[in-house]
Amino acid sequence: MEKKGRKVKKNVIAYRKKCKANGTGLAHYVLLDKK
C-alpha cells in the first residue's frame, strides 16, 4: 500500500512512461491477462 501523501509538495510533477501499444479492450470487455 502507498503512503497517503508525499511530505514535501513538489513544485512540478510530470512523468510519462512508454511501452508497446497493444490494447484491444472495449467497454463491454477488458482483456488484461496476457499469459
Binding site: 503512503k3 477488458v30 488484461l32
Partner: protein, 457 residues
C-alpha cells in the same frame, strides 16, 4: 530552439491550464501530445518561465507527438469480438443488440465457427508479427447458449489464440468454470447491483425473472481465479448503489470490475441514462471507496475503466481499453464478427446494418477493413468533433463512442454521452497523481513492460 517563454503563442509550446480540483496543484496539458504537468499553485510563474519543465518537454515534443500518432494510426487489428450466437437468454432493457436478434436470431454452427477461426488464424498469421498471439473474445448476446461450439473452438485453437469470454454468468456450471480456468480463459461476467432488488431491475430473463442470484453463484465459483472481471452497467436505476456495489465486489474478492456508464446506442437504453452530474458524483465516491478498502485490507478491487483513463494519462501507449482514444479501436485494433459471419468495426455496431463491412466467409478480411463503413470509424478524428477539438483532455477521453454518437446524434462526427463524467474522471486521476496514490487504482504489473521517458518529480 525557439524561445521557451513564447508558449501558447504562434509556434510555441501549447500548454492549456486545467483546474483539477486539488488544493495545491493545477494541471497544464499539451493536448496534441497528451503531455501534462501538475504545477504547485504558488509556483506557477517559476514553473513556466523558461524552466526545466519547458526545456525538457521541448526536447521530447516530437517524440511524444510521434507516440500519440502511432497510437492513433499505427496499430493493426489483433483481436476479434466474436458472437457465436445472436440469441440471449436475457432481455436486459439497455442491451445494444436489437431485441429481435436476441430473441429469434440463430447460433453459428460448430463447423462454421471452426471454419471462421481457421480463416482468422490465417489472416493474423500474415498480418501480425511472428510470436504475437491474437485474441478471440466470445461475446454476445450470450455466447454460452452455444457452449458446445465455443468450448470445442477453444480446445481446437488454444495454441493459436488468447481466448476470452464475456457472459451474463447465468449458464455457467462448475464443469464449465473448471474448463475455462484450466485453459486460463479470461472471463467477464455481468452484474448490476449488490442485492437482487438493484441488480435485477434491468437484467431479467424473457419471462421477467431476475438472475442475479445465479450470477453471484458463478462469481463464487470463480473466487480465487485472477483472470476474471465483473461489468456493472451504471444507469440511473443503480448509480446510487455504486458504493455498495464496490463493497460487495471487494468482499467477493473480485479482482477487477468495470463500472460502465450505459451505452446509449439503442433507444431502449437511453431512458436509463443518468445525468452526468449524478453519475459522476456516485462514480467518484465508488472510486474513493475502492481506495479505502485497499487501505483497510491490502487487497485491490481495480475499476478497470477508470484505471484505463489513469494509465492513458501516465503511459498513453499502455492503455488496454481502446474506446477512450480517437479514433477508437473499432476496425483498427479489433473488429467484430456476428453469428452469420458479418463483420463490423465493433460489436456496438452489430445492430446497425450500414456499418457492416463484409462477411468473413465471403470476403477477404483485408478488403473488409478498407470498406467505407470501417474507414468511417477508423478515420473518426476528434479534431473534427465539436467541442472536443478544443478540449485539453481530448486524448484521455476520445469522445466515445461512434456507434452511440451515430444513433444518438445522427452522425459519428459528434461526441457520445457522458462528456462531463470523463472530465471528472480525468480531474480525479490528476488528483491521485498529485497525491501519489495512483498505484492503489491500478492492477499489479500494469507497467512491467513500460519504461520512464519523462520525469520531473
Amino acid at each position: 530552439m525557439y524561445q521557451l517563454n513564447r508558449f501558447n503563442t504562434a509556434d510555441g509550446l501549447q500548454l492549456q491550464p486545467i483546474d483539477i480540483g486539488h488544493k495545491d496543484y493545477i494541471g497544464v496539458i499539451s493536448a496534441d501530445t497528451a503531455f501534462w504537468a501538475l504545477l504547485r499553485k504558488d509556483q506557477i510563474s517559476q514553473a513556466l518561465n523558461g524552466s526545466l519543465l519547458l526545456r525538457k518537454y521541448y526536447r521530447r515534443l516530437e517524440v511524444f507527438g510521434e507516440e500519440i500518432t502511432a497510437l492513433r494510426t499505427g496499430l493493426k487489428p489483433s483481436a476479434v469480438y466474436f458472437n457465436p450466437t445472436d440469441r440471449c437468454n436475457l432481455n436486459c432493457s439497455y442491451c445494444y443488440i436489437p431485441k429481435s436478434l436476441r430473441k429469434n436470431g440463430r447460433h453459428m454452427s460448430s463447423r462454421r465457427l471452426l471454419e471462421a477461426l481457421k480463416i482468422l488464424k490465417t489472416y493474423f498469421r500474415s498480418s501480425l508479427p511472428k510470436g504475437q498471439k491474437p485474441q478471440i473474445v466470445f461475446h454476445g448476446a450470450e455466447p454460452l447458449l452455444n457452449k458446445g461450439a465455443v468450448f470445442s473452438a477453444i480446445d481446437k485453437f488454444g495454441q493459436d489464440f488468447h481466448f476470452g469470454i464475456q457472459t451474463n454468468g447465468t449458464l455457467l456450471d462448475s464443469q464449465d468454470v473448471e474448463f475455462l480456468k484450466s485453459r486460463r480463459i479470461s472471463i467477464g461476467l455481468s452484474l448490476d447491483g449488490h442485492i437482487s432488488s438493484v441488480a435485477d431491475r434491468l437484467r431479467r430473463s424473457w419471462d421477467g425473472r431476475g438472475v442475479s442470484e445465479k450470477v453471484i453463484e458463478s462469481i463464487n465459483m470463480l473466487r480465487g481465479y485472477d483472470n476474471y472481471s465483473v461489468i456493472c452497467t451504471v444507469t440511473k436505476e443503480n448509480m446510487a448503489s455504486l458504493i455498495k456495489m464496490v463493497e460487495f465486489l471487494h468482499r467477493m474478492e473480485v479482482p477487477i470490475c468495470m463500472l460502465n456508464p450505459v451505452r446509449c446506442t439503442l433507444i431502449g437504453s437511453r431512458k436509463h441514462k443518468p445525468l452526468d452530474s449524478g453519475i459522476a458524483r456516485h462514480y467518484l465516491q465508488a472510486l474513493d471507496r475502492s481506495y479505502q478498502l485497499y487501505q483497510k485490507t491490502g487487497r485491490k478491487l481495480v475499476v478497470a475503466n477508470f484505471a484505463n483513463i489513469l494509465i492513458g494519462i501516465i503511459a498513453p501507449l499502455a492503455r488496454r481499453l481502446m474506446c477512450d482514444i480517437s479514433p477508437c479501436g473499432g476496425g483498427r485494433c479489433f473488429f467484430a464478427v456476428s453469428s452469420s459471419g458479418d463483420m463490423f468495426p465493433c460489436s456496438e455496431f452489430i445492430g446497425i446494418k450500414k456499418f457492416k463491412g463484409g462477411n468473413i466467409f465471403k470476403d477477404d478480411i483485408r478488403n473488409v477493413l478498407e470498406t467505407a463503413p470501417f474507414k468511417s470509424v477508423k478515420e473518426r478524428r476528434i479534431e473534427n468533433i465539436e467541442p472536443c477539438c478544443r478540449c485539453a483532455i481530448r486524448h484521455f477521453c476520445g469522445a466515445p463512442c461512434p456507434a452511440e454518437a451515430h444513433e444518438m446524434n445522427g452522425s459519428i462526427e459528434t461526441r457520445g454521452a457522458f462528456c462531463e463524467l470523463y472530465v471528472d474522471q480525468v480531474r480525479y486521476a490528476f488528483r491521485l497523481i498529485a497525491d501519489n496514490k495512483t498505484g492503489a487504482y491500478l492492477w499489479d504489473g500494469w507497467d512491467k513492460d513500460a519504461f520512464t521517458t519523462f520525469k520531473i518529480r
